[in-house]
Symmetry: D2
Subunit: 138 residues, 4 copies
Protein backbone atom coordinates (compact mmCIF):
# COMPACT_ATOMS: atom_id res chain seq x y z
CA UNK A 1 0.00 0.00 0.00
CA UNK A 2 1.29 3.40 -0.86
CA UNK A 3 -1.08 5.83 0.76
CA UNK A 4 -1.63 7.39 4.15
CA UNK A 5 -4.70 7.94 6.27
CA UNK A 6 -2.91 10.64 8.21
CA UNK A 7 -1.03 13.68 6.96
CA UNK A 8 0.64 16.38 9.03
CA UNK A 9 1.37 19.64 7.16
CA UNK A 10 4.81 21.01 8.06
CA UNK A 11 5.87 24.64 7.94
CA UNK A 12 9.35 25.02 6.44
CA UNK A 13 11.25 27.71 8.36
CA UNK A 14 14.00 30.01 7.16
CA UNK A 15 15.99 28.56 10.06
CA UNK A 16 15.71 25.08 8.52
CA UNK A 17 17.69 26.06 5.45
CA UNK A 18 21.40 25.27 5.37
CA UNK A 19 24.33 26.63 3.36
CA UNK A 20 23.29 24.42 0.42
CA UNK A 21 20.20 26.65 0.35
CA UNK A 22 17.77 23.85 0.86
CA UNK A 23 16.40 22.21 4.01
CA UNK A 24 19.17 20.65 6.10
CA UNK A 25 19.15 16.84 6.07
CA UNK A 26 18.68 16.68 9.85
CA UNK A 27 15.42 18.62 9.52
CA UNK A 28 13.96 15.78 7.44
CA UNK A 29 14.32 13.83 10.63
CA UNK A 30 12.65 16.60 12.64
CA UNK A 31 9.76 16.76 10.16
CA UNK A 32 9.25 12.98 10.33
CA UNK A 33 9.42 13.11 14.15
CA UNK A 34 6.71 15.77 14.06
CA UNK A 35 4.67 13.53 11.76
CA UNK A 36 4.95 10.56 14.13
CA UNK A 37 4.15 12.56 17.25
CA UNK A 38 1.11 14.14 15.58
CA UNK A 39 -0.03 10.71 14.35
CA UNK A 40 0.14 9.25 17.85
CA UNK A 41 -1.79 12.23 19.18
CA UNK A 42 -4.38 11.88 16.43
CA UNK A 43 -4.89 8.21 17.28
CA UNK A 44 -5.24 8.98 20.99
CA UNK A 45 -1.99 7.25 21.95
CA UNK A 46 -0.51 10.41 23.43
CA UNK A 47 -2.29 13.32 25.10
CA UNK A 48 0.15 15.99 23.90
CA UNK A 49 1.18 17.01 27.39
CA UNK A 50 2.56 14.13 29.45
CA UNK A 51 6.19 13.92 28.33
CA UNK A 52 6.89 11.17 30.87
CA UNK A 53 4.37 8.98 29.17
CA UNK A 54 5.11 8.94 25.45
CA UNK A 55 5.00 5.16 25.49
CA UNK A 56 7.34 4.58 22.55
CA UNK A 57 11.04 4.89 21.88
CA UNK A 58 12.82 4.95 18.55
CA UNK A 59 15.05 1.96 17.88
CA UNK A 60 16.04 2.46 14.26
CA UNK A 61 15.21 4.74 11.38
CA UNK A 62 16.12 4.74 7.70
CA UNK A 63 15.62 7.86 5.60
CA UNK A 64 15.86 7.95 1.82
CA UNK A 65 16.35 11.40 0.31
CA UNK A 66 14.74 11.84 -3.09
CA UNK A 67 14.63 15.58 -3.61
CA UNK A 68 15.79 18.68 -1.80
CA UNK A 69 13.12 20.68 0.07
CA UNK A 70 13.12 24.37 -0.70
CA UNK A 71 12.18 27.41 1.36
CA UNK A 72 8.59 28.31 0.57
CA UNK A 73 7.68 24.78 -0.52
CA UNK A 74 4.38 23.43 0.80
CA UNK A 75 5.01 20.04 2.39
CA UNK A 76 3.27 17.42 4.50
CA UNK A 77 4.31 14.23 6.25
CA UNK A 78 2.26 11.11 5.62
CA UNK A 79 2.39 8.56 8.45
CA UNK A 80 1.18 5.00 8.76
CA UNK A 81 1.89 1.92 10.86
CA UNK A 82 2.90 -0.93 8.62
CA UNK A 83 3.64 -3.71 11.06
CA UNK A 84 2.56 -4.38 14.62
CA UNK A 85 4.78 -6.90 16.37
CA UNK A 86 4.76 -8.00 19.96
CA UNK A 87 6.93 -5.25 21.37
CA UNK A 88 7.80 -3.25 18.25
CA UNK A 89 6.09 -1.59 15.34
CA UNK A 90 7.16 -0.18 11.96
CA UNK A 91 6.06 3.33 11.13
CA UNK A 92 6.40 4.61 7.58
CA UNK A 93 6.71 8.35 7.02
CA UNK A 94 6.93 10.22 3.75
CA UNK A 95 7.64 13.90 3.24
CA UNK A 96 5.58 14.92 0.26
CA UNK A 97 5.23 18.04 -1.80
CA UNK A 98 1.72 19.07 -0.73
CA UNK A 99 0.70 20.17 -4.21
CA UNK A 100 1.99 17.36 -6.41
CA UNK A 101 2.10 14.60 -3.79
CA UNK A 102 5.63 13.83 -4.99
CA UNK A 103 7.68 11.99 -2.35
CA UNK A 104 10.66 14.10 -1.34
CA UNK A 105 11.88 11.61 1.25
CA UNK A 106 10.68 8.42 2.87
CA UNK A 107 11.38 7.06 6.32
CA UNK A 108 11.02 3.64 7.88
CA UNK A 109 11.22 3.61 11.66
CA UNK A 110 11.14 0.82 14.19
CA UNK A 111 9.63 1.89 17.50
CA UNK A 112 9.44 -0.10 20.71
CA UNK A 113 6.78 0.14 23.39
CA UNK A 114 8.46 1.39 26.51
CA UNK A 115 7.62 1.76 30.16
CA UNK A 116 9.41 4.92 31.23
CA UNK A 117 8.84 4.25 34.94
CA UNK A 118 10.51 0.82 34.68
CA UNK A 119 12.90 1.96 31.89
CA UNK A 120 12.32 -1.20 29.92
CA UNK A 121 10.62 -2.30 26.75
CA UNK A 122 7.18 -3.88 27.15
CA UNK A 123 4.64 -5.63 24.94
CA UNK A 124 2.60 -3.08 22.97
CA UNK A 125 -0.33 -2.26 25.29
CA UNK A 126 -3.63 -3.76 24.09
CA UNK A 127 -5.39 -0.40 23.76
CA UNK A 128 -2.50 0.94 21.62
CA UNK A 129 -2.71 -2.11 19.40
CA UNK A 130 -6.46 -1.83 19.02
CA UNK A 131 -6.41 1.91 18.24
CA UNK A 132 -3.72 1.45 15.59
CA UNK A 133 -5.42 -1.59 14.04
CA UNK A 134 -8.73 0.23 13.85
CA UNK A 135 -7.24 3.37 12.33
CA UNK A 136 -5.12 1.54 9.79
CA UNK A 137 -7.55 -1.23 9.05
CA UNK A 138 -4.88 -3.81 9.86
Amino acid sequence: MDEFRFYQPIQVRYGDIDPQRHVNNSRFFTYMEQGRVSYFQHLGLWDGTDFDNLGMILLETTITFNEPILYGQSIRVGVRTERLGNKSLNVITAIEDAESGRKLATGNSVLVAYDYSKTQSIPIPENFRRLIEEFEGL
Copy 2:
Protein backbone atom coordinates in the same frame (compact mmCIF):
# COMPACT_ATOMS: atom_id res chain seq x y z
CA MET B 1 0.22 51.72 18.48
CA ASP B 2 -0.12 48.19 19.67
CA GLU B 3 -1.44 46.24 16.73
CA PHE B 4 -0.07 44.56 13.65
CA ARG B 5 -1.11 44.57 10.02
CA PHE B 6 0.82 41.35 9.44
CA TYR B 7 0.68 38.08 11.33
CA GLN B 8 2.60 34.90 10.60
CA PRO B 9 1.17 31.73 12.21
CA ILE B 10 3.93 29.52 13.60
CA GLN B 11 3.78 25.76 14.05
CA VAL B 12 5.28 24.69 17.38
CA ARG B 13 7.27 21.48 16.89
CA TYR B 14 7.98 18.71 19.35
CA GLY B 15 11.64 19.40 18.55
CA ASP B 16 11.26 22.97 19.84
CA ILE B 17 10.52 21.81 23.37
CA ASP B 18 13.38 21.72 25.86
CA PRO B 19 13.92 19.88 29.16
CA GLN B 20 11.80 22.51 30.92
CA ARG B 21 8.96 21.09 28.81
CA HIS B 22 8.16 24.34 27.12
CA VAL B 23 9.56 25.98 23.98
CA ASN B 24 13.29 26.64 24.28
CA ASN B 25 14.15 30.34 24.61
CA SER B 26 16.27 30.28 21.44
CA ARG B 27 13.22 29.21 19.44
CA PHE B 28 11.48 32.47 20.36
CA PHE B 29 14.24 34.01 18.31
CA THR B 30 13.63 31.55 15.46
CA TYR B 31 9.90 32.29 15.50
CA MET B 32 10.53 36.04 15.37
CA GLU B 33 13.05 35.54 12.56
CA GLN B 34 10.38 33.63 10.65
CA GLY B 35 7.94 36.46 11.31
CA ARG B 36 10.36 39.07 9.94
CA VAL B 37 11.29 37.05 6.86
CA SER B 38 7.62 36.38 6.06
CA TYR B 39 6.81 40.07 6.57
CA PHE B 40 9.52 41.15 4.13
CA GLN B 41 8.25 38.60 1.61
CA HIS B 42 4.68 39.77 2.11
CA LEU B 43 5.72 43.38 1.45
CA GLY B 44 7.64 42.39 -1.68
CA LEU B 45 11.05 43.23 -0.21
CA TRP B 46 12.33 39.68 -0.66
CA ASP B 47 11.42 37.14 -3.31
CA GLY B 48 11.81 34.09 -1.07
CA THR B 49 14.55 32.54 -3.17
CA ASP B 50 17.55 34.84 -3.61
CA PHE B 51 19.55 34.30 -0.42
CA ASP B 52 22.33 36.57 -1.68
CA ASN B 53 19.92 39.44 -1.79
CA LEU B 54 18.07 39.61 1.52
CA GLY B 55 18.93 43.29 1.74
CA MET B 56 18.91 43.56 5.54
CA ILE B 57 21.11 42.43 8.38
CA LEU B 58 20.28 42.27 12.06
CA LEU B 59 22.19 44.69 14.24
CA GLU B 60 20.50 44.29 17.60
CA THR B 61 17.50 42.54 19.08
CA THR B 62 15.83 42.65 22.47
CA ILE B 63 13.39 39.92 23.50
CA THR B 64 11.13 40.11 26.53
CA PHE B 65 9.72 36.78 27.71
CA ASN B 66 6.27 37.04 29.24
CA GLU B 67 4.97 33.48 29.25
CA PRO B 68 6.24 30.04 28.33
CA ILE B 69 5.00 28.57 25.03
CA LEU B 70 3.65 25.05 25.30
CA TYR B 71 3.56 22.16 22.87
CA GLY B 72 0.22 22.22 21.08
CA GLN B 73 -0.32 25.93 21.65
CA SER B 74 -1.60 27.92 18.67
CA ILE B 75 0.67 30.90 18.15
CA ARG B 76 1.38 33.65 15.64
CA VAL B 77 4.01 36.37 15.24
CA GLY B 78 2.84 39.92 14.68
CA VAL B 79 5.35 42.11 12.82
CA ARG B 80 5.50 45.82 12.12
CA THR B 81 8.09 48.44 11.23
CA GLU B 82 8.07 51.17 13.82
CA ARG B 83 10.83 53.47 12.67
CA LEU B 84 12.48 54.05 9.32
CA GLY B 85 15.81 55.82 9.62
CA ASN B 86 18.34 56.58 6.92
CA LYS B 87 20.18 53.27 7.00
CA SER B 88 18.34 51.41 9.77
CA LEU B 89 14.82 50.47 10.77
CA ASN B 90 13.14 49.15 13.92
CA VAL B 91 10.98 46.07 13.55
CA ILE B 92 8.66 45.05 16.37
CA THR B 93 7.65 41.41 16.69
CA ALA B 94 5.28 39.85 19.18
CA ILE B 95 4.62 36.16 19.69
CA GLU B 96 0.95 35.91 20.57
CA ASP B 97 -1.36 33.15 21.64
CA ALA B 98 -3.49 32.89 18.51
CA GLU B 99 -6.70 32.37 20.44
CA SER B 100 -6.51 34.97 23.18
CA GLY B 101 -4.10 37.40 21.48
CA ARG B 102 -2.09 37.43 24.72
CA LYS B 103 1.52 38.49 24.15
CA LEU B 104 3.86 35.66 25.11
CA ALA B 105 6.99 37.54 24.11
CA THR B 106 7.90 40.77 22.38
CA GLY B 107 10.93 41.63 20.32
CA ASN B 108 12.46 44.88 19.17
CA SER B 109 15.03 44.54 16.42
CA VAL B 110 17.24 47.04 14.66
CA LEU B 111 18.00 46.07 11.09
CA VAL B 112 20.37 47.74 8.68
CA ALA B 113 20.07 47.91 4.91
CA TYR B 114 22.99 46.02 3.50
CA ASP B 115 24.63 45.53 0.14
CA TYR B 116 25.88 41.96 0.20
CA SER B 117 27.99 42.39 -2.94
CA LYS B 118 29.86 45.34 -1.40
CA THR B 119 29.55 43.93 2.18
CA GLN B 120 28.62 47.31 3.58
CA SER B 121 25.59 49.08 4.98
CA ILE B 122 23.72 51.37 2.61
CA PRO B 123 20.86 53.85 2.85
CA ILE B 124 17.51 52.03 2.83
CA PRO B 125 16.63 51.73 -0.89
CA GLU B 126 13.83 54.07 -1.93
CA ASN B 127 11.51 51.26 -3.09
CA PHE B 128 11.96 49.47 0.29
CA ARG B 129 11.12 52.67 2.09
CA ARG B 130 8.06 53.30 -0.03
CA LEU B 131 6.71 49.75 0.29
CA ILE B 132 7.09 49.80 4.07
CA GLU B 133 5.58 53.28 4.43
CA GLU B 134 2.61 52.30 2.30
CA PHE B 135 1.99 49.05 4.14
CA GLU B 136 2.35 50.55 7.60
CA GLY B 137 0.74 53.88 6.85
CA LEU B 138 3.83 55.66 8.17
Copy 3:
Protein backbone atom coordinates in the same frame (compact mmCIF):
# COMPACT_ATOMS: atom_id res chain seq x y z
CA MET C 1 34.82 46.07 33.53
CA ASP C 2 35.33 44.31 30.28
CA GLU C 3 36.69 40.92 31.12
CA PHE C 4 35.33 37.54 32.15
CA ARG C 5 36.40 35.05 34.78
CA PHE C 6 34.56 32.30 32.94
CA TYR C 7 34.76 31.25 29.32
CA GLN C 8 32.92 28.41 27.60
CA PRO C 9 34.39 27.29 24.27
CA ILE C 10 31.68 26.59 21.71
CA GLN C 11 31.91 24.22 18.77
CA VAL C 12 30.39 25.73 15.62
CA ARG C 13 28.48 23.03 13.73
CA TYR C 14 27.81 22.74 10.03
CA GLY C 15 24.15 22.58 11.07
CA ASP C 16 24.43 26.07 12.61
CA ILE C 17 25.17 27.70 9.28
CA ASP C 18 22.30 29.30 7.40
CA PRO C 19 21.77 30.25 3.74
CA GLN C 20 23.81 33.42 4.31
CA ARG C 21 26.69 30.99 4.87
CA HIS C 22 27.43 32.18 8.35
CA VAL C 23 26.03 31.14 11.74
CA ASN C 24 22.28 31.75 11.95
CA ASN C 25 21.33 34.61 14.27
CA SER C 26 19.26 32.33 16.49
CA ARG C 27 22.35 30.23 17.21
CA PHE C 28 24.01 33.25 18.82
CA PHE C 29 21.23 32.88 21.34
CA THR C 30 21.92 29.13 21.68
CA TYR C 31 25.63 29.78 22.20
CA MET C 32 24.92 32.38 24.91
CA GLU C 33 22.44 30.01 26.55
CA GLN C 34 25.17 27.37 26.61
CA GLY C 35 27.52 29.91 28.14
CA ARG C 36 25.07 30.79 30.91
CA VAL C 37 24.20 27.17 31.72
CA SER C 38 27.91 26.23 31.86
CA TYR C 39 28.62 29.24 34.06
CA PHE C 40 25.91 28.26 36.54
CA GLN C 41 27.26 24.71 36.60
CA HIS C 42 30.80 25.98 37.10
CA LEU C 43 29.69 28.10 40.07
CA GLY C 44 27.81 25.17 41.62
CA LEU C 45 24.37 26.73 41.11
CA TRP C 46 23.17 23.83 38.97
CA ASP C 47 24.17 20.18 39.12
CA GLY C 48 23.83 19.53 35.38
CA THR C 49 21.14 16.90 35.80
CA ASP C 50 18.09 18.20 37.68
CA PHE C 51 16.08 19.96 34.99
CA ASP C 52 13.28 20.66 37.45
CA ASN C 53 15.63 22.70 39.53
CA LEU C 54 17.42 25.15 37.28
CA GLY C 55 16.47 27.93 39.65
CA MET C 56 16.47 30.77 37.13
CA ILE C 57 14.27 31.90 34.28
CA LEU C 58 15.06 34.34 31.51
CA LEU C 59 13.08 37.57 31.60
CA GLU C 60 14.75 39.63 28.92
CA THR C 61 17.77 39.49 26.67
CA THR C 62 19.42 41.95 24.32
CA ILE C 63 21.90 40.76 21.72
CA THR C 64 24.12 43.05 19.67
CA PHE C 65 25.61 41.51 16.54
CA ASN C 66 29.04 42.83 15.64
CA GLU C 67 30.42 40.29 13.18
CA PRO C 68 29.22 37.15 11.45
CA ILE C 69 30.51 33.84 12.82
CA LEU C 70 31.95 31.53 10.18
CA TYR C 71 32.14 27.76 9.94
CA GLY C 72 35.49 26.62 11.29
CA GLN C 73 35.95 29.70 13.47
CA SER C 74 37.19 29.08 17.01
CA ILE C 75 34.85 30.82 19.43
CA ARG C 76 34.11 31.05 23.14
CA VAL C 77 31.43 32.67 25.27
CA GLY C 78 32.53 34.86 28.15
CA VAL C 79 29.98 35.09 30.98
CA ARG C 80 29.76 37.26 34.07
CA THR C 81 27.11 38.48 36.50
CA GLU C 82 27.05 42.23 36.53
CA ARG C 83 24.26 43.03 38.92
CA LEU C 84 22.63 41.10 41.74
CA GLY C 85 19.25 42.50 42.71
CA ASN C 86 16.74 41.13 45.16
CA LYS C 87 14.96 38.75 42.79
CA SER C 88 16.81 39.38 39.52
CA LEU C 89 20.35 39.47 38.17
CA ASN C 90 22.03 40.74 35.00
CA VAL C 91 24.25 38.33 33.16
CA ILE C 92 26.58 39.61 30.45
CA THR C 93 27.67 37.23 27.71
CA ALA C 94 30.06 37.86 24.84
CA ILE C 95 30.79 35.59 21.93
CA GLU C 96 34.44 36.10 21.15
CA ASP C 97 36.81 34.92 18.48
CA ALA C 98 38.96 32.59 20.58
CA GLU C 99 42.18 33.63 18.87
CA SER C 100 41.92 37.39 18.70
CA GLY C 101 39.46 37.91 21.58
CA ARG C 102 37.42 40.13 19.24
CA LYS C 103 33.79 40.44 20.36
CA LEU C 104 31.52 39.01 17.68
CA ALA C 105 28.34 39.61 19.69
CA THR C 106 27.39 40.72 23.16
CA GLY C 107 24.35 39.81 25.22
CA ASN C 108 22.76 41.35 28.28
CA SER C 109 20.22 39.12 29.99
CA VAL C 110 17.96 39.66 32.98
CA LEU C 111 17.26 36.45 34.87
CA VAL C 112 14.88 35.95 37.76
CA ALA C 113 15.20 33.44 40.59
CA TYR C 114 12.34 31.04 40.26
CA ASP C 115 10.74 28.32 42.33
CA TYR C 116 9.55 25.76 39.80
CA SER C 117 7.48 23.86 42.35
CA LYS C 118 5.54 27.01 43.25
CA THR C 119 5.84 28.47 39.71
CA GLN C 120 6.69 31.90 41.05
CA SER C 121 9.67 34.22 41.28
CA ILE C 122 11.51 34.29 44.60
CA PRO C 123 14.31 36.29 46.19
CA ILE C 124 17.70 35.04 44.97
CA PRO C 125 18.60 32.26 47.44
CA GLU C 126 21.37 33.28 49.84
CA ASN C 127 23.75 30.51 48.75
CA PHE C 128 23.33 31.54 45.08
CA ARG C 129 24.08 35.11 45.99
CA ARG C 130 27.13 34.17 48.00
CA LEU C 131 28.57 31.86 45.33
CA ILE C 132 28.15 34.51 42.62
CA GLU C 133 29.58 37.31 44.80
CA GLU C 134 32.58 35.19 45.67
CA PHE C 135 33.25 34.14 42.10
CA GLU C 136 32.84 37.60 40.62
CA GLY C 137 34.37 39.52 43.51
CA LEU C 138 31.23 41.63 43.77
Copy 4:
Protein backbone atom coordinates in the same frame (compact mmCIF):
# COMPACT_ATOMS: atom_id res chain seq x y z
CA MET D 1 36.48 -3.97 10.98
CA ASP D 2 35.02 -2.15 13.90
CA GLU D 3 37.30 0.76 14.52
CA PHE D 4 37.78 4.24 13.20
CA ARG D 5 40.84 6.17 12.08
CA PHE D 6 38.97 9.43 12.54
CA TYR D 7 37.03 10.71 15.54
CA GLN D 8 35.27 14.04 15.91
CA PRO D 9 34.49 15.07 19.50
CA ILE D 10 31.03 16.60 19.79
CA GLN D 11 29.88 19.11 22.39
CA VAL D 12 26.40 18.28 23.70
CA ARG D 13 24.43 21.50 24.15
CA TYR D 14 21.66 22.26 26.60
CA GLY D 15 19.66 23.19 23.49
CA ASP D 16 20.03 19.61 22.17
CA ILE D 17 18.06 18.15 25.06
CA ASP D 18 14.38 17.43 24.52
CA PRO D 19 11.43 16.96 26.90
CA GLN D 20 12.56 13.35 27.50
CA ARG D 21 15.60 14.98 29.12
CA HIS D 22 18.09 13.36 26.83
CA VAL D 23 19.45 14.40 23.43
CA ASN D 24 16.70 14.67 20.82
CA ASN D 25 16.81 11.92 18.20
CA SER D 26 17.24 14.43 15.37
CA ARG D 27 20.46 15.67 16.98
CA PHE D 28 21.99 12.22 16.52
CA PHE D 29 21.65 13.02 12.86
CA THR D 30 23.25 16.45 13.36
CA TYR D 31 26.16 14.89 15.28
CA MET D 32 26.74 12.32 12.53
CA GLU D 33 26.55 15.05 9.89
CA GLN D 34 29.20 16.97 11.81
CA GLY D 35 31.31 13.80 11.94
CA ARG D 36 31.06 13.31 8.17
CA VAL D 37 31.80 16.94 7.31
CA SER D 38 34.82 16.97 9.65
CA TYR D 39 36.04 13.69 8.16
CA PHE D 40 35.88 15.06 4.62
CA GLN D 41 37.73 18.18 5.74
CA HIS D 42 40.35 16.08 7.52
CA LEU D 43 40.95 14.04 4.36
CA GLY D 44 41.24 17.17 2.22
CA LEU D 45 38.03 16.53 0.30
CA TRP D 46 36.46 19.80 1.43
CA ASP D 47 38.16 23.08 2.27
CA GLY D 48 35.66 24.10 4.95
CA THR D 49 34.58 27.26 3.15
CA ASP D 50 33.25 26.57 -0.35
CA PHE D 51 29.63 25.57 0.28
CA ASP D 52 28.97 25.34 -3.47
CA ASN D 53 31.56 22.63 -3.75
CA LEU D 54 30.85 20.02 -1.09
CA GLY D 55 31.02 17.34 -3.75
CA MET D 56 28.73 14.81 -2.06
CA ILE D 57 25.04 14.50 -1.38
CA LEU D 58 23.28 12.17 1.03
CA LEU D 59 21.14 9.51 -0.59
CA GLU D 60 20.16 7.35 2.35
CA THR D 61 20.97 6.98 6.01
CA THR D 62 20.09 4.40 8.64
CA ILE D 63 20.54 5.19 12.32
CA THR D 64 20.32 2.63 15.10
CA PHE D 65 19.77 4.05 18.57
CA ASN D 66 21.40 2.04 21.34
CA GLU D 67 21.43 4.38 24.32
CA PRO D 68 20.20 7.84 25.17
CA ILE D 69 22.79 10.63 25.23
CA LEU D 70 22.72 12.78 28.35
CA TYR D 71 23.57 16.39 28.99
CA GLY D 72 27.15 16.58 30.18
CA GLN D 73 28.15 13.31 28.55
CA SER D 74 31.47 13.31 26.69
CA ILE D 75 30.90 11.97 23.20
CA ARG D 76 32.68 11.60 19.88
CA VAL D 77 31.69 10.49 16.39
CA GLY D 78 33.82 7.87 14.69
CA VAL D 79 33.70 7.99 10.87
CA ARG D 80 35.00 5.67 8.19
CA THR D 81 34.34 4.90 4.54
CA GLU D 82 33.42 1.28 4.15
CA ARG D 83 32.72 0.95 0.45
CA LEU D 84 33.77 2.97 -2.57
CA GLY D 85 31.58 2.33 -5.58
CA ASN D 86 31.63 4.05 -8.94
CA LYS D 87 29.37 6.96 -8.07
CA SER D 88 28.49 6.22 -4.43
CA LEU D 89 30.20 5.39 -1.16
CA ASN D 90 29.11 4.05 2.23
CA VAL D 91 30.14 6.01 5.28
CA ILE D 92 29.80 4.46 8.72
CA THR D 93 29.41 6.75 11.73
CA ALA D 94 29.19 5.81 15.39
CA ILE D 95 28.40 8.09 18.28
CA GLU D 96 30.47 6.80 21.17
CA ASP D 97 30.77 7.63 24.82
CA ALA D 98 34.23 9.18 24.79
CA GLU D 99 35.25 7.58 28.06
CA SER D 100 34.05 4.00 27.69
CA GLY D 101 34.00 3.83 23.88
CA ARG D 102 30.48 2.37 24.17
CA LYS D 103 28.46 2.82 20.97
CA LEU D 104 25.41 4.99 21.69
CA ALA D 105 24.23 4.97 18.09
CA THR D 106 25.49 3.83 14.71
CA GLY D 107 24.78 5.23 11.28
CA ASN D 108 25.21 3.87 7.79
CA SER D 109 24.98 6.47 5.05
CA VAL D 110 25.10 6.23 1.29
CA LEU D 111 26.55 9.32 -0.33
CA VAL D 112 26.76 10.13 -4.01
CA ALA D 113 29.39 12.22 -5.75
CA TYR D 114 27.64 15.26 -7.13
CA ASP D 115 28.43 18.08 -9.48
CA TYR D 116 26.57 21.06 -8.05
CA SER D 117 27.10 23.19 -11.16
CA LYS D 118 25.51 20.51 -13.37
CA THR D 119 23.12 19.34 -10.62
CA GLN D 120 23.79 15.70 -11.40
CA SER D 121 25.58 12.73 -9.90
CA ILE D 122 29.03 11.96 -11.25
CA PRO D 123 31.63 9.22 -10.85
CA ILE D 124 33.63 9.72 -7.65
CA PRO D 125 36.54 11.98 -8.71
CA GLU D 126 39.86 10.14 -8.85
CA ASN D 127 41.56 12.35 -6.26
CA PHE D 128 38.65 11.78 -3.83
CA ARG D 129 38.96 8.06 -4.37
CA ARG D 130 42.70 8.07 -3.86
CA LEU D 131 42.59 10.21 -0.70
CA ILE D 132 39.93 7.98 0.87
CA GLU D 133 41.70 4.75 -0.12
CA GLU D 134 44.96 6.00 1.31
CA PHE D 135 43.43 7.18 4.57
CA GLU D 136 41.37 4.05 5.11
CA GLY D 137 43.89 1.58 3.73
CA LEU D 138 41.25 0.25 1.35
